[in-house]
């Protein structure tokens, strides 16, 4: 039975409607991914930005004889629970350094307790009703306010949220990445140069290639197991140190650098090599003087991206013990250290609600650094990329 034209055109309309639906659905999928990204960043900003501010209160500090023994006595009883214990603890030391302070009484802006901070930011707080009333009066008198939180950027970890900062973790990250870069960059570039410019096309070379692609896809936690079993247990590298963390991350970054370098080397046209060989260069001279300089922007871009990846990696570092509690900013390659992502992980596990803010603040700093690194890589590529 034949269909009427009306039926056929109705069928056609259905088909076209279906076709259009696919377009909108696929557009929606992309929109969904973008929407998530926006929600994610908004959530992190809302949670994290308050971490860059910290409550301070103005109190009368009495540098008496008694205070040098019992720092709690330095402030009056009504504001005592409001002042950070970390600040009070420093008083005897300051009196020793500066004997003139003894016997004087000064009005000072001091770091407030973490609970006061949470109260001023409108969060849930453990302060009792009377303490809240005291804080309210202080606010009315202009003696309590939120100021820029320098502690967050200058101090190490602490169990007291108002004293916790990311400086120790940032230092650890820098040192770990230095080790990573020093190991993975030369080895990665050398491997890529060998595979691309020197190696004969035989079984061994193919094995190395498959192996590198495979390494790039191995779960990062297995690299942690490697670091633990080989570097720590076998070679005796100190646990938790930037050296062992850096070495572990270097093995993870290696495939990224190798793959990026190979792509960069491959994009240098053969005519350059032919010309160099033509004037009598040896293979190494061709690579050193002509191919590598031309491929350098691509190599740098790849290395920066690999480094950014290593910077955000946490799992293998937990396995090699880099989640230590580090209150002081140190700069040793062989002593225990922590890194930014590990610090975020530690803070995320703290029961105190004030640490949620610290965690988000740390995340914002980490994301800012990562985005800067990746943007640098893109700019480098845009600026120096040559099309042949």
């Amino acid at each position: 039975m034949s269909q009427s034209f009306d039926e056929i055109s109705a069928q056609l309309r259905r088909r076209h409607r279906k076709s259009a639906r696919l377009k909108w659905v696929s557009m929606g999928a992309l929109g969904l991914a973008a929407l998530f990204l926006v929600l994610f960043f908004a959530d992190m900003l809302v949670k994290g930005v308050p971490a860059f501010q910290q409550a301070q209160i103005q109190v009368e500090v009495d540098y008496s004889e008694q205070a040098s023994q019992l720092p709690l006595a330095a402030v009056k009883e009504d504001v005592r629970p409001l002042v950070s214990r970390g600040y009070l603890r420093l008083i005897p030391g300051r009196m020793e350094d500066n004997p003139d302070l003894l016997g004087t009484t000064r009005m000072e802006w001091v770091l407030a307790d973490g609970q006061v901070d949470q109260y001023l930011k409108g969060h849930h707080t453990k302060l009792s009703g009377s303490e809240q009333a005291v804080v309210d009066t202080l606010v009315d008198q202009g003696r309590a306010e939120l100021r820029f939180n320098t502690t967050f950027f200058t101090s190490g970890d602490s169990k007291m949220p108002e004293l916790a900062g990311i400086a120790a973790a940032a230092m650890g990250t820098v040192m770990t990445l230095l080790v990573t870069l020093a190991v993975s960059f030369p080895i990665g570039v050398m491997t890529a140069v060998y595979l691309e410019e020197f190696a004969p096309d035989n079984r061994v070379t193919q094995l190395i290639e498959i192996n590198i692609n495979n390494l790039a896809a191995i779960p990062s936690i297995l690299f942690g197991l490697l670091g633990l079993a080989i570097f720590i247990n076998f070679f005796g590298v100190p646990r938790s140190s930037p050296v062992v963390g850096g070495l572990t991350l270097a093995l993870m970054t290696l495939p990224v650098i190798i793959i990026a370098t190979r792509t960069a080397l491959r994009s240098v046209p053969d005519s350059i090599r032919h010309a160099a060989f033509g004037v009598g260069c040896s293979r190494w001279q061709v690579v050193r003087d002509h191919v590598l300089p031309l491929a350098l922007p691509g190599i740098m871009t790849g290395s920066i991206i690999g480094l950014a990846q290593a910077m955000g990696e946490t799992a293998p570092l937990i396995i090699v013990g880099m989640v230590a509690f580090i209150p002081d900013v140190g700069a040793s390659f062989t002593e225990a250290a922590t890194v930014l992502p590990a610090q975020i992980f530690t803070w995320a596990g703290e029961p105190d609600r004030a640490f949620i803010e610290k965690t988000s603040g740390g995340i914002l700093v980490l994301l800012a650094v990562l985005i800067t690194l990746n943007a640098t890589a893109v700019v480098l590529r845009k600026k120096f990329e040559r099309r042949w």
């Binding site: 088909r15 279906k18 076709s19 696919l22 377009k23 696929s26 999928a29 992309l30 991914a33 973008a34 998530f36 994610f40 992190m44 030369p186 050398m190 140069v193 060998y194 595979l195 020197f198 190696a199 094995l207 498959i210 590198i212 692609n213 495979n214 896809a217 191995i218 779960p219 990062s220 936690i221 297995l222 942690g224 197991l225 490697l226 633990l228 079993a229 080989i230 070679f235 290696l254 040896s282 293979r283 190494w284 950014a308 955000g312 990696e313 946490t314 799992a315 937990i318 396995i319 013990g321 989640v323 992980f345 995320a348 949620i356 965690t359 980490l366 994301l367 990562l370 985005i371 893109v378």
Partner: protein, 418 residues
């Protein structure tokens, strides 16, 4: 003397020897050349060759000595080792200078050494794989000496608690014997991976279709980097997001439907992991869809197919090997993902099909066994390596299958840049 001082002494002496070699070699070569004899290489190349022949053997002797001491535990007095390597260095210096002759190919010799070094660097990646394999297999074997292999594979109770006491020689004090049945862990892992894939594959694939087939160029250039940002966010950040933001939302939402959800439910890490994986699928699928030849689309449209039908019935089936390969890679990533589940999933091994309950995964147990103080005789610590071995084998096979599939696709359409 301290090891550091010996190392410094070694490096310092070697530097001086190298400098001597460089200048002696160059002076000799320059003299030969000045006398009018034609040479195979430049004076600088002879100089570098002398440096290599000085430093190379000395460093080799030092390294071999250090290795023997470290690995075999042989007691070689470090001072003797230092003296031996320096003597070898001096011998190399004499030989190097001696070889500065017009008929010697210094450049070729340097080339050979460099080639050797480059090949050595390339072997490091092989060593890494073997290192991972050996370290994991070795410790896993120790674990299977203590625990039955079949109990590990088929057991449904994971209760390592008492193994700690056992290792301390106080086994009888622990109430129950430690049990290492890994089924609940793998069930949890697969549940979370499944949730992640249910999020990532539709969204990733459809995004790829939109970007490859519909999007104007400007949207494309904007959308690609935005999706890459998703891939660049550290997993610890996703983990925090899943635990602090997504999990409470899920608890609230399921409360509305009268369901009881745990704060460590499997849904939150699964969804967030899926979002993390979207760019892996979309970026590879996008490349694959783009490399399906245009002639196929034109043929399909010429037969009167609509755009949607062309994509559904022609382009996607043609790109299917690549899409499957991308999905397999994504699965392997989800299985091995650690931080999201450590922070957002539970610690309790729980054999259940309800994603609103808390369940734990292989990677969570690995971290739990190895974080903190470790006692390497304890079965709990070693169990991490047994779990790691299984994880390694599964992800390795997934990766290999994925590579083979993409190679098939490439050969079918003769594409070189995938």
């Amino acid at each position: 003397m301290q090891t550091n001082q010996i190392l410094a002494l070694f490096c310092g002496t070697l530097l001086v020897l190298g400098l001597i070699a460089f200048f002696l070699g160059r002076a000799k070569a320059a003299k030969v050349r000045a006398s009018g004899t034609a040479m195979y290489a430049q004076p600088d190349q002879y100089a570098w060759f002398s440096v290599l022949s000085t430093a190379g053997p000395a460093i080799a002797v030092g390294a071999v000595g250090a290795f023997v001491m470290l690995l075999l535990g042989a007691e070689i007095p470090t001072l003797y080792l230092l003296a031996a390597s320096l003597v070898v260095g001096c011998a190399g210096l004499v030989m190097g200078i001696n070889l500065v002759r017009p008929d010697f190919h210094a450049r070729k010799a340097i080339e050979r050494v460099i080639r050797f070094f480059l090949a050595g660097a390339a072997l490091i990646s092989i060593f890494t794989t073997f290192g991972i394999l050996l370290s994991i297999v070795g410790e896993a074997l120790r674990f299977f000496q203590m625990q039955n292999f079949w109990d590990f594979i088929t057991g449904t109770t994971w209760n390592p608690g008492a193994s700690f006491l056992e290792a301390a020689g106080r086994a009888e004090e622990g109430a129950s014997a430690a049990q290492f049945g890994s089924v609940p862990l793998f069930a949890g892992t697969f549940m979370i991976t499944l949730i992640a894939m249910l999020v990532a594959i539709p969204v990733g694939l459809l995004s790829a279709i939109y970007m490859a087939e519909y999007a104007p160029r400007r949207v494309r250039t904007l959308a690609k980097p935005v999706l890459e940002v998703l891939a660049g966010i550290p997993t610890v950040v996703y983990g925090f997001f899943a635990a602090i933001t997504v999990a409470p939302i899920i608890v609230d939402v399921s409360g509305v439907f009268g369901l009881d959800a745990s704060f460590n439910n499997a849904l939150a890490p699964g969804i967030v992991m899926g979002i993390m994986i979207i760019p892996f699928i979309s970026s590879l699928s996008d490349d694959v869809i783009n490399s399906v030849p245009d002639s196929m689309r034109q043929g399909s449209l010429a037969l009167g197919m609509t755009q949607g039908e062309t994509i559904r019935d022609v382009v996607v089936p043609a790109a299917l090997p690549g899409i499957i390969s991308a999905s397999l890679l994504a699965v392997s990533r989800a299985l091995g993902e650690t931080m999201i589940v450590v922070m957002a999933a539970g610690m309790r091994p729980n054999l259940t099909a309800n994603p609103l309950e808390d369940m734990t995964t292989v990677t969570v147990r690995i971290v739990a066994a190895l974080a903190g103080d470790q006692e390497f005789a304890s079965a709990e610590t070693l169990s991490a390596f047994a779990l790691g071995l299984v994880l390694f084998i599964v992800t390795l096979s997934l990766n290999l299958v994925s590579v083979i599939m993409i190679r098939r696709f490439r050969e079918k359409y003769r594409i070189n840049n995938l």
